[in-house]
Symmetry: C2
């Protein structure tokens, strides 16, 4: 759910990081939200079947919303890049003095001396394509997105969410009452969140044990709150 | 849910964009997932109260998972920046020739001539702080994150999710049966998704009518799928 702003050091694994990031996004939410929803319902209803129905409906809703949302935001990123590229080409053609001044300001901000700025501006703006590429990357911070990424990202996030969501739900299939299901679901899911949080933190170079506790903590707090609210509503 | 990678043109509204982005993230999911879950359940149960209980449990679970997830990923971003900063200072001190060569490569990649590269490397690496700042920004693409951002982001995303989720659910409070609730919920929510999608696209400079249809489409597909799955499970 949350937008995970992870910037792995570029010298390390770059191609796999986009896919891993999508799996992390899908799994974090898939493990926590269906777990907490099912936990909440087990405090309010007597039928395991109802918990399973609601859980599966949530998994389908969540994975489609996340997957399709991811797909469309990937497409938006492509469109945005293309429209900014057109805009920069237009500006370089129509107001070259403004754009040249922007290049100079960027170089000044980096810490170059006025003389070197002059020389560098001349060289960077000599070629139109190179000039626009410089503006895209260093003024706007935009890199050409991979066109296949939108589709792959959608599938990965959606699948990871569904997979993550089936783990806490599986306990309710195997038990007789929602309360019994909740016990097993909590054990299995918190264990998975600990393991997942551990590896996720190692991936981003953060302290892994602390990361494990954080993931499990989010799940536990969300489940406890959902349980409380569902009890409250049923009690009205 | 999905991580929306939006890069508004830096010349436009910068301070508000982070908050708006958080509201957009929270609202997109808040409007779609609880809507789809409630729609799914109305295909399977006879009691509006159950739909409301499950819907509220989902809103609580989702807003905590998103809010807390956003908070912790903001904190991770801070930690990551701090640890990369330490690493760059260390590298500049311990292997200055390697780091100087990295600066030169970045400048070569920009399109500077070898002579200008030499001169620019000398100037950029003259001051240690400026050198590290250059590496952080242009080699790693990292900017100093705002320490307050993590907390604010959590609150904004969580609140937007809860607010968004209460809209589709409100229909079930006011109607006698889940089916009746579903009808009104669909009308209200799809209308909200159209309006929300319209403004969200305008915000990022995308075609607004197309954006409106996309948002409503995600909600409709997720709701229809959840409805289908819940019917299927109940029928077993």
């Amino acid at each position: 759910m949350a937008a995970y702003h992870q910037h792995p050091h570029p010298e390390e694994h770059l191609t796999s990081s986009a896919v891993l990031q999508d799996i992390v996004i899908g799994l974090s939410d898939g493990l926590t939200v269906p777990f907490a929803l099912a936990a909440g319902l087990s405090g309010a209803v007597q039928s395991s079947e109802l918990v399973i129905t609601a859980g599966l409906a949530e998994i389908v809703a969540g994975s489609i919303a996340m997957g399709l949302g991811g797909y469309l935001s990937g497409r938006t990123e492509l469109d945005h890049y293309a429209s900014e590229l057109r805009r920069e080409y237009r500006e370089v053609d129509e107001v070259p003095h403004v754009e040249r001044e922007e290049v100079r300001e960027l170089l000044a901000d980096m810490g170059l001396s006025p003389a070197t700025q002059e020389q560098a501006v001349r060289e960077l703006t000599a070629d139109r394509d190179q000039w626009v590429k410089f503006m895209m990357k260093y003024e706007l911070g935009l890199e050409q997105p991979d066109p296949k990424r939108a589709r792959n990202s959608a599938a990965t996030i959606g699948l990871a969410y569904a997979l993550g969501g089936l783990i806490p739900l599986s306990a309710y299939f195997a038990t007789a009452t929602p309360r019994e299901g909740l016990g097993w679901s909590a054990v299995i899911t918190l264990l998975c969140l600990l393991v997942f949080g551990y590896f996720r933190s190692r991936l981003t170079g953060q302290p892994p044990f602390w990361g494990a506790l954080k993931m499990a903590g989010i799940g536990a707090v969300a489940a406890a709150a959902a349980f409380g609210v569902a009890r409250l509503v049923e009690g009205l």
